[in-house]
């Protein structure tokens, strides 16, 4: 850092350093996660008992819209953008992203999207759900301009994500360390690359779709209004053409994290590197061809129903291959059970369950019984909370020492894991039953005669246990920032180049970039150090 460069908080405002931008993303996204979590607890509290009056129906619809939108656009996507910003350049031995100033712009656009969206809390929050189905969102059915705030959130965070994805793609394509061919690219980078391609292909579609929604709402156009020749279903097709890849945009980076964490804590190479990398690309491709499985209850036609059923089931093959490769990585390893591996193991169990219910949902007659019920709510929370958020937790415990130079508490970390794991199961496993016995999603209350009271109460208690687990990790981070034991550059004896840099890394990351000779360059470096020093060292 030069003598005339800004310091303190000004340095954070003006930064173009990928690590600082990564930290800004992570801190902001965790703050929004707290808001989205409070919204989730509000909904669970309202549903804890039948005929509850904690929230009015209007307020409930606002909270459910804020919760879904927040978690997707302001939490999970930017969390991965944060980790990718910080670790993709380090993992490939680069000194920054390809376009540092564009990178800063991405972050500020994201923050602007969040501020615009939450600004609506002081006026009239949107209440059409995060899917904003037309004509509910386009017609005169909801007073106020909350839906417009939602549209601008999509525009701002969408541009942010597209710019970020271009940056990641170019960085990975052009800035890899000498010797790092595509067959030596870390699996986290492979999954971020596949994710970036999906963002580039699918986010422009939702940007176009919400623009049409905006002109329908304010400029008298008729894209979605059947009364003047538009189509209410056009919105659903455009939304899900984006919305299904979006699911994989949120889960593919999780796959990458799991593929990094498992070999390190099993002290064993990843099983089937090529299959894992290739299946990420296969999933990215297939995910563009399955959108109408979200619309099995709409009038679609037999050919479309069967086509989307078959493509949706096909995705289970590359996903199943990944799960088997991960389990095989642990098999015959020498497992060190640290907190990142706890979260990764929890991910494996719960994500597998969520993936399996996904196959059930792909069969459209079954889907018509369980879609739009609590069964689907359970399914996608298994994929996105037990999947994505578990992997975020694994990534946090794994990479926190690199970002801060300090370790998190293992005891608190493991306690946090157990609270999250048990709380999650209590919250969501039982929701499958609620859905099967007829409880639709997005209802603000239900009658006592429905018999759903007990299951809902269990679910609500589970949600508070889950929240306690997350709060414990936040506390652990606050404690670790100041009190955590010093980490050193390579506390886990890991495989990839970010552990070659100091903790935290210098602004330029590396004094020298080593030549990469395998998919585990740090292992090679440790071996070389061992052969060169008389004292020897750990493997």
């Amino acid at each position: 850092m030069g003598p005339d460069e800004p310091r303190g908080w000004r340095a954070w405002l003006a930064t173009t350093d990928h690590k600082r931008i990564g930290v800004l993303y992570l801190a902001t996204a965790f703050a929004f996660m707290m808001l989205g979590g409070v919204e989730a607890l509000l909904m669970r509290s309202q549903l804890a008992v039948p005929d509850n009056t904690l929230l009015t129906s209007e307020r409930y619809n606002q909270v459910l819209t804020m919760h879904g939108t927040t978690m997707v656009f302001l939490v999970v996507m930017p969390l991965w953008a944060g980790f990718a910003n910080y670790f993709v350049p380090l993992q490939i031995g680069a000194r920054d992203m390809a376009f540092p100033r564009l990178n800063a712009l991405s972050y500020w656009l994201y923050l602007a999207g969040g501020v615009v969206f939450y600004g609506s809390v002081f006026f009239s929050p949107p209440e059409a759900g995060w899917t904003a189905y037309t004509p509910l969102s386009s017609g005169p059915y909801i007073p106020g301009n909350g839906t417009d705030a939602w549209i601008f959130l999509i525009h701002l965070t969408g541009v942010s994500s597209i710019l970020g994805a271009l940056n990641i793609t170019v960085t990975i394509a052009h800035m890899r360390a000498p010797g790092m061919g595509w067959n030596r690219l870390p699996l986290f980078c492979w999954s971020m690359l596949a994710q970036a391609i999906m963002i580039i292909l699918s986010l422009p579609v939702i940007a176009g779709a919400v623009t049409l929604l905006l002109t329908d709402r304010h400029f008298g156009t008729c894209f979605y209004d059947p009364a003047c020749g538009g189509s209410a279903l056009l919105w659903q097709h455009l939304f899900w053409f984006f919305g299904h890849p979006e699911v994989y945009i949120m889960i593919l980076p999780a796959f990458g994290v799991i593929s990094e964490v498992l070999p390190v804590f099993a002290r064993k190479p990843i099983f089937g590197y090529k299959a894992i990398a290739a299946s990420s690309i296969a999933i990215a491709f297939l995910s563009m061809l399955v959108w109408a499985h979200h619309m099995f209850a709409t009038p679609l036609g037999a050919a479309a129903l069967v086509f989307f059923m078959l493509t949706s089931m096909t995705i289970a093959i590359p996903t199943g291959v990944k799960v088997l490769n991960w389990v095989a990585t642990l098999f015959r390893g020498s497992i060190v059970l640290r907190t990142p591996l706890y979260f990764a193991s929890g991910f494996l169990v719960l994500f597998t369950l969520g993936g399996i219910t996904g196959v059930m949902l792909a069969i459209f007659p079954i889907d018509r019984q369980v879609t739009d019920t609590y069964f689907v709510v359970a399914h996608f929370h298994f994929v996105l909370v037990a999947g994505s958020v578990s992997a975020v937790m694994a990534a946090l415990y794994y990479w926190f020492p690199k970002i801060t130079g300090r370790m998190l508490s293992e005891r608190v970390g493991k306690l946090s894991f157990w609270l999250q794991f048990v709380g999650f199961l209590a919250t969501f496993l039982i929701q499958h039953s609620l859905g099967l016995s007829g409880m639709p999603r997005r209802v603000y209350t239900y009658g006592a005669d429905t018999g759903w009271g007990t299951d809902n109460l269990i679910s609500t208690v589970g949600a508070f246990i889950l929240a306690a687990g997350v709060v414990l990790t936040v506390g652990n981070v606050v404690w670790g920032l100041h009190r955590g034991p010093r980490a050193g550059s390579d506390p886990w004896k890991a495989n990839t180049l970010e552990w070659f840099a100091t903790s935290p890394p210098a602004p330029h990351n590396f004094d020298l970039v080593p030549r990469v000779r395998s998919v585990e360059p740090m292992r090679d470096i440790r071996r070389e150090i061992r052969t060169r020093t008389a004292t020897g060292g750990d493997r």
């Binding site: 189905y133 004509p135 990843i270 642990l330 020498s334 706890y342 018509r368 199961l425 496993l429 007829g438």
Partner: protein
């Protein structure tokens, strides 16, 4: 502790979710053949799913226990096994092909209205053509926040549909405003009511009684209050009811000077 929870999670899926209430494990059934057939298909898929999940969870739990550093200090240096990987890819694909083919063979009976003829008495009572094979057609119209049912003779009603037992009832589902979703769990899956479109489904009540459901697509502030029910009655009772409903509506219309 990790092991016990992993095993418990596996057992939970194998045994189903931890609750004893009806509809806890399987979709609702017992009102109409299509709902019954969906529940049967679901049962087969659930058993397969439970087997796959238990297999994965058990292997994971075994690995986490057996290959702890304390019990296995030297990790095997294996980077993959092409034959094994090809094998499990083929097995996964085979399972998916089986599920697809199995589901497709069940589609016809779920999707298409039952062609079983109604009893002669029912055909006579309802005035159905084609020996009752064509069934009875009722229009379902969703609007904020009530369902309207329009019968072949022009009679209509709100909230509760009266339908004859033992006769195929075909529904034409429309919406007057926003998207709604028609769903009576015991009578088969959901079918969205989308403005500008007509959606179709059917049911054939196996016994008299009241079948409850509610709108399943977020349709506004009182979405949770948009309930629906189908009351199954004998064909003769249905014929009497629908004729009386028509008379009442006509009388009311005349009284208003229409």
């Amino acid at each position: 502790m990790l092991l016990s929870t992993l095993v418990a999670a596996g057992a939970l899926l194998a045994l189903g979710a931890p609750t004893a209430s009806a509809g806890a494990l399987l979709p609702e059934r017992g009102g109409s053949p299509n709902a019954d057939r969906i529940a049967s298909l679901y049962t087969v898929v659930l058993i397969l799913a439970a087997l796959v999940f238990t297999g994965v969870a058990a292997t994971l739990a075994f690995s986490l226990v057996r290959y702890r550093r304390s019990r296995n200090p030297v990790p095997a240096q294996i980077r993959g096994n092409t034959r094994l990987e090809v094998a499990w890819t083929v097995i996964a694909a085979g399972l998916i092909v089986f599920l697809s083919v199995f589901s497709i063979t069940k589609l016809d009976a779920i999707e298409h209205p039952d062609r079983a003829a109604a009893s002669p008495a029912a055909v006579a009572a309802l005035g159905l053509g084609d020996g009752g094979q064509e069934g009875l057609r009722i229009e379902v119209v969703g609007r904020q926040y009530v369902w309207q049912f329009v019968y072949p003779n022009g009679a209509y009603a709100y909230g509760e549909m009266v339908a004859p037992v033992g006769v195929t009832v075909k529904l034409d589902i429309r919406s007057r405003d926003v998207a709604h979703s028609w769903w009576i769990p015991k009578l088969g899956g959901k079918f969205d009511a989308i403005p500008g479109y007509v959606n179709h489904t059917w049911f054939r009540l196996t016994r008299a009684g009241v079948y409850r459901g509610q709108c399943a697509e977020l349709c506004g502030r009182d979405h949770a209050r948009m309930v629906a029910q189908v009351r199954g009655v004998t064909p003769a009772q249905y014929a009497t009811w629908v004729a009386r409903q028509k008379r009442l509506i006509d009388a009311a219309r005349q009284a208003k000077g229409g």
